[in-house]
Amino acid sequence: MASTACFVIVSKNDIPIYEAEVGSAPKKEDLAYQHQFILHAALDVVQDLAWSTNAMFLKSVDRFNDLVVSVYIFLNPLYLPGSRITSSHFDTKVRALARRYL
């Protein structure tokens, strides 16, 4: 079954610092923006929930039709606010992992 997934790392102030469309479904431009919309909207829920739980992993925190949003909340003390993740090595790793599990 073809699956589609979008992986985004968001820093504070809602700034996406890393985006990757992964999954075996063929890539579509309109899917990409739909994913962005859903993930962006889910931040509302995450923002709410993050302060009410100790869990780092918020499974199925939000959903839109059959698309489910799950979130990990981390804090990287070495991160320079505002900078994007541009490492191609990281990108390759993410996509390789996605291929294995999706």
């Binding site: 809602d14 700034i15 909207a41 931040l43």
Partner: protein, 1135 residues
Amino acid sequence: MDPLRSYLGRLLLEEITPVVMVLTTPLAEAACRKSGLSVVDMLSPFSLFKKIDVPVRTASDQPYRLQMFKIRMVYASDVRKQDHEVADERIKPVVSEANESALPDLLSDPPQLEDVLSKPEAELCPLWIKKFNRALMRTLSFSEHETFDHPVACLLVVSSKDNEPISKFVDLFNTNQLPSLLNEGIMDPQILKHYVILHDQQDGPQEKAMNILAEMKSTLGLNDCKLLCINSSTEADGVDAENSWLPYKSYGLHNQEGSCWLNTDDLNEIKDFMQDLASNHIIPYMEQKIRVLNQQQEMSGLCYFMLDQSRKDAEYCMDSAFSTYLRIGSSGQRNATRCGLWWAEMLKTRGQYREASSVYYRVSNEEPSLHSAVLLEQAACCYLLSKPPMLRKYGFHLVLAGNSYYISDQKQHAVRTYRNALFVYKQHPWSYINDHVHFNVGRWYGVLGIFDVAIKHLLESMGKKFDVYKLQLPVINMPSLRVIYEDHRTYASEADVNVSESIWQELEEEMIPSSSVVRTNWLEKSPDLRKYKDSCVCVVGEPVKVSIELRNPLQIPVAVSCISLICQHSTSLDASENSVLTTGAGEDIASTKPAISTFEDDGNNFTVSKLDIVLQGSETRSGLPKLTGCIDHLPTNVFAGDLRLLKLNLRNHSEYAVKVYVVIHVDNTHVHGPWIMVDMSKNIKMKISHPRFIIPDDLSKVDLEFPQCLRKHGQSEINTVSTKRTQEDSKVLLFSFSQDIKIQGGATFSCPIWFHAATPGNFSLYISLYYEMESPSDMTYRTLRMHYNIEIFPSLDVSFSIRMCSSRLQEYIVRMDVLNRTPSESFVLNQLSCNDSKWAISTLPLCGSVSSVETVPANQAVSCFFKIKDLGTNSCKETENSSCTSDMLLSRDGGTEEFDISRSPITDFHYQERYQQGRLAKGPCDLLDFILISKAVGGNHSKSEADIQLLSHHVCHCSALDQSPVWWFMEGPRTVIHDFSKSYCEANIQLVIHNSGQHNISVRVVTFDSVPDKSQTVNVLDSNSNQSGWYDVSLENDIKAISTAKGTHYQKQPSESIPPYVWCSLSCAQVDLKPDTSAKVPLKVCIFMPGTYNFSNYQLHWKVHSSAVGQVDENERSGGGQGHPFYVTVLQDAQ
């Protein structure tokens, strides 16, 4: 809780109160019609009982005191199921109407976060949305499985005028007029029936109706019959009627026809009737029925809400009802929707907005796009209203709603929702979202015809991709704004204004007085200058030009019109003290016609427009004199060497006379020659920079004919020019002219100017003209600035190689190489001249002319040989011949006269060339300069004399290849006839040695019989070859060729192992030579057999003896040379 306080409560009160079905006869209707009402209209206002206070028992036998009660009166004909399509059609106008009204709002700015959060709920959820919700719910009225609208009672109304009223009652309920639902048994036909006899008081006394009532009571039941009397008012529109109606107006009772026969008594009677109907009949009936009705799940949820208890239960009920409806399938879909709406309203009333929005979202999934759009919008509103506001969800759902709106063709709504979401995504780094929102908003604005906003949004979406942001059409290039005015500086053309001011200032230095006002002492400041120092000055009557560039960045043309310049008049002149220039003299809009010139850029097809708006001064006063000027026929591209006569034309446009100074400046970054100050008269000076290109001629020679004026006319004029050069070494040349230049008002003045394209390249020619006013004014002088760009192409490369003549003293052999570097032009070589008359130039003895090479075609090179003789040395004076001149005609073109190179302007240009070339290459010993004059023929030989292009090439500082202070050559018989049978032959020859240097020289002559060492020869040769005089590096190959040619000459000899001759008597001789003296060394050669012999087996070594040895170059202090070839032919005497 008061149901009227919440929206849902009001909704419930209006929508799901018990329904009473009304059946009437036409006569009963007619009676009510008199007051402009229907029966239902008349009864409805009295169907709300605010304080009915009736105790009831609920389904679970709980006693409950009913506080408020309402019944809905509906005609039986309306009790039917609506068609789905018809129902949907009814909803659409609600949305469309709002669609139209949304348009004006779209023109305003999109809402910001603060605006949205501060808005009350009512504004966020506009009225039309509530209308829509209600309409959506009503589509379900009287449908299958629908219990809210099932009539709980039936009211049968018969008029007292009807015949047989009793049977009419029976007919009313039995006819097929009854709703199909009742007939089909879906609704309970055994409902409570209430019979009313309606009596119109105007139709007669009440007795008849009373009788009927009595009859009804006996037939239809005692309690279920009532008499209702109306229209008891004696006159239409009774005075008290108005007042009595007032309390009920709010319930929708509107007297439409203006006449009302109902009086207060009637109204009270109706009221009483209704109260009786409700409390005594309907409520008890419903009490019984409630056990049947409460099977609906949905209903119990609402009941919980109404009871304001047990929230969880209510929610649970709604949830299960909703999913049950969905499970049922398509038939229950609309019920699910309504259930959802109730549910959402319920949640909203409790402040559970977040839950409400998800309910809305769930509902929207089940509805067609139009409905879902409205529902989604409501969901978005709920997210906004939730605490804290969930803005991202709000934006997302608005975008979803917008999409649905767009699909259902509600573009205004679509734009509105997207616009409302804009602030959420403002300054958003989520690229896809940003692009999507802006692109769609832009696109839909475009569809709506609001193009400016559309472009703004579309650009926003493209902004990051294409880096075009906030596009203005046309683009106004503000840095290009220039205000061109002419104070004391005037310009010949507009392009000259763009030249940097510093260039002009450098040019006009020394020419313009530093201060035009003479101060009496150093403390006094010139008031006039101070006054105008910080403000721009322009002369009355002269235009001030404003130039601004408008650019069209699009691929399509844009029409630009109605450009106006707004000017503010300021009366304050004291700008230095008062920073505010405008003192409120009002604005004048200059309605001027701009001169538009359009340029087409080939590359991008851009249309560039430049506007010059000319403001005419409103005041006319006599202005200052102004000169305009230009150089006639100044070429933009010429061949190097081009020499031509031009005219500088000056015109005085005013009536005042001016005095003129001219400054000419040629700019080339690496060429900076001297300045030439031309003193035109005692008061008028002309200063020239870089006269390499331009030299002004005598003003008296305005009518010069070119090129005749350059020709030699006689010996008398030759030396006149030399007096012009007063200081050879100084960088300033002074020319004297006899008359003042004064250009009268309106007059034109021409000044001859010589132009010489000295060297290839691009040059900017700056000419500044200084003139003074004769009439006293604020401005004592003005300058006219002219600027020309000239491109000079390479034409002929001329180079010379000079070698000392080996057979004659003080003579040189010259090889001239001319290379035509033009692709198509041919040149005729006309004349070759030396710069000094001490040189005589002539052809080689054996070739009388060089006519064979007179034309140099394009891309060809020619070489020709001739000799030059130094006439200046004393020792050779005797050979001087009057026929020897420093000029040589190369062309025999129909008796052309020679050009006089010793006259202006050629000699002036030559001086400049000499100076310039001397700077580039400073040889230690330079002999002479050559001037080659040629004509361009351009393939067309039949050019008339007038438009001949004359070229003069100046090659300066030429020196001989093998310059040495010692000249030597053999003298002797060239042919010897000897009888070898008798003895060997002895030939007497002598070696003539001449010292042309400045010092004493001792020369040693060594003869040897064996062939000299080859390598030694070459060394000697190399040490003597002096190439420093050559300025053109490209010719080095040619020089090498000459060297190797000579080398091979020596190489031939070693093949003869033993020379066939021997030197006699002398193997070594030494002579001392004083400067400029000659000595002869006699030599004798023994020859053993006839043949031709080259007596060159000797060497010269010299040493310079000087008191000032240090001054002599090390290379020249001593040296040597191989013997020159000297061929002698020895013949056998025949006798």
